[in-house]
Amino acid sequence: MKRRDFLKNTAVFVSGASLSLSTLEFLDPRELLASQPSLRWGFLVNTYKCVGCGFCVKACKIENDIPLEANVTRTWVERYVMTKSGETIRDCPQGALNGYTSKLLDENASGMRAVPDEEVAQAFFVPKLCNHCSTPACVQVCPVGATYQTADGAVLVDRKWCIGCGYCIMGCPYGVRFFHPVERVADKCTFCYHRISKGGNTACAQACPFGARQIGNLRDPNDPVAKAVLKERVGVLRSEYGTKPNVYYIGLNEEVR
C-alpha cells in the first residue's frame, strides 16, 4: 500500500468511525431523558386508608405476570397488631394476596396465633413495594449492570441481561426482590413503568378501592403526591441504610421496619 493510500484510508476510516460514534451519542437514551429533569417518580402510601383487602397484590400479580400461586410478590401488605402489654405481632401470609379475612395471625412455623380483641391496643396495615431508591443498593451491587436506574428515577431489571446471581436480592434492605419463578431472573416492582411512562396509573393504585396508594411526580409542585410529601408528616422506611427511598408513608410508626 502506498503511503498516500494509507493516509487516505486512515482518514476515511477515522471520519467513518467518528460519524458512527456521534450517532451513538446522539441516541444515548440517558441524554434524551435527562433533557426532562422535571420528572422523578415517587409513591405515596396512606396507611390510614389501607384495610388489608389485598386487591393491590392481586392486581399487581396479574398485571405483571407473577404467577398467583407462587410465594413471591412485587408488592405486599403487612398486618400489625399491637397489644396493650406493648408487644407487636406482625404477619403477612402469602403477601396478603387474598386479603386479611381472619383474626388469626400467621406465624409461619410457629403456627397460628390468636390475640383476644380486648388485648389489642391498635392494629393497622402497611403496604410495601420497591422504594425506587435514589441511591439504590441493588444497582450498586449488580455485577453486570442488569439492574439500572432510569433518568426519571425508576429502578428496573433487564431480564435479558441478568445472570441470576441474587446479589441484588441480598443487597436490597427492604426485601422487595426475588427470583421470577418462570423467567429465572431477579424481579421486583417497576412502578408499572410500562403504564406510567404512557401516562397511565400503576395497577395497584388503580385497584385500591380506598385510595391508599398513589403514584406521582415528585418534581411537579402541583402533583398530589409531591404536595403531600411537602405538606404532610410523612416518613420513609429504614433511612439508616442511606438508600434514600422514594416511597413515602403517611402514618408510619416506629414498629414498621
Binding site: P67, L68, E69, A70, N71, V72, T73, W76, I89, R90, D91, C92, P93, Q94, G95, N98, T101, S102, E107, N108, A109, S110, K128, A137, V139, Q140, V141, C142, P143, V144, G145, A146, W161, C162, I163, G164, C165, G166, Y167, I169, M170, G171, C172, P173, Y174, G175, V176, R177, F178, F179, P181, R184, V185, Y241, G242, R257
Partner: protein, 434 residues
Amino acid sequence: MVEQVAQMVVHGEAWTIKDLFVLPNEYVYWSIQIVMYPYMTGLVAGAFVLSSLYHVFNVEKLKEIARYALVFSFALLPVAMLPLLLHLQQPLRGIHVMMTPHFTSAISAFGIVFMTYACIVGAEIWFVYRKFFVESLLRLEAKTGRSSFESILKMIYRIIALGARDLSPEALEADHKAVKLLAGIGIPVACFLHGYAGFIFGSVKANALWMTPLMPVIFICSAVVSGIALCIVSYAIFMELRKWAARRGKNFLLPDAVAHGEHVVDVDHLRSVQGHEVTMTAKYLLIFMTLAITLELLDIIFRGYTAVKSWDILRDVIYEHDFVKIFIMQYGIGNILPFLILLLPGLTVRRAVFASLLVLFGVFMMRWNVVIGGQAFSLTFDGFMHYHLPIIPHDIETFKEGLPGALMVITTPFVIFYFLNMIVPAFMEDKNAH
C-alpha cells in the same frame, strides 16, 4: 376463607423454613454453593501462600510440600469458579460479568482478580517446571515409535514449553529468579483474591451479620488456615497412596507413571510425608489459626458490646439457633480441639493429619455460619429462616444447590489434579525443579 391454590415452588422455597414474621420474598437465596465458593477460593489462596513460604522466605524444610501445594493450588483454581456458576439462575450468561463489568459491584471484578491470579500461578508453575518440560520434550522427540498417547503428550509439552528450550545454567538461574518474583507478587494477590471474597459479604449493608470491615481480614486468615490444612491432609494421604500403589503395581493411581513410564516413580525411594515437613507446616498453621480465631472472637465481642439494634436478633441467632454450629462445631471441634492437638509436644504425622482434618471442618463450618447464618434471620429482625440442605435431589435445582452439587465441587479438584499430574508431576523428587 383462604383460597387453596396449587403450589409453584420459587427459588429458595425448597430449602427454607420460615418462622415468625418473615417478608414474603425472603428465602435463603444464597445456599450451599455460596458456602462452597469462599471455601474453595480459600483453599486456593491458602495452598498458594504455603507454597510461597518456601519460594519467598526460603523455608528450606517446606521444599517438597511447597511444590505440591503449588500444583494443587492450580488444580483447585478452576473449581473456585464452579460454585458460582452452579449457583447462578442463568449460568449460560455468566460471561456477562466479563462483558459488561459493573464496577460498583464487588462481584464484577471477580473475573479480573481471578484471571490475574490464575496467570500468576500458571506462570510460576511454568518457571518451576520449565526444565522438566524441556527435558520431557527432548526425551519424547528422541523416542522412536511413540504411542499416540506419547504423541499427544509431546504436543502438549511442545506447546507449553513455548519454544524456550534453553537449559543453560544462566537460563535456569533466570527461571529461579522469576519464580521468586512471582511467588512474591502472588502472596498479596492471593490475599486479595480471598479478601475480596470477604468483601463481597462484608459490604452488603442490608445484612446485619455480614456487614463488618473485618470480614475480608477474617476471610484471609481462615483461607490460609484451610489451605495449609488441606495441603497437610492431602499431601500425607497422597504420599501413602502412592507408596501403596507403587508396591502393588497399581499404576493407574500414579498419573505421572502413566504419562512418563514407571521409571519416574522410584519405588524404593517413595517416602512417606516427613515429620519435619509436617511439624514445620503445622507451625504456620498454628500462627494463622491464632490470628483467625482472635479476629472472629473480636467481631462477636464487639457486636455484643456495642449492641446496636440488630444485636437482639443476632444474639438469638448466635447463642440460640446456631449455638451448636458456631460454638461446638466451628470453635470447639474446628478450632480449639485441633489447636490443642497441634500444641501438645511430640507431634506425629498422623496426629497432624487428624488435626488438619478438624481444621478443614472448622473452616467449612465458619463459611457455613457466615453465609447461611447471615440469612437465618429476617430483614425485619422479627423472624427466622431455617435452611435445610437438600440431600436427595428431586430436580435440577436441588441437585445443583444440594449435597450432590457440593460433593461435585469438592471432588472436581482431585480429578483435575490427577490429570495435571501427568503433565506437571507434583511429587517429582529429583533436582529437576526448584
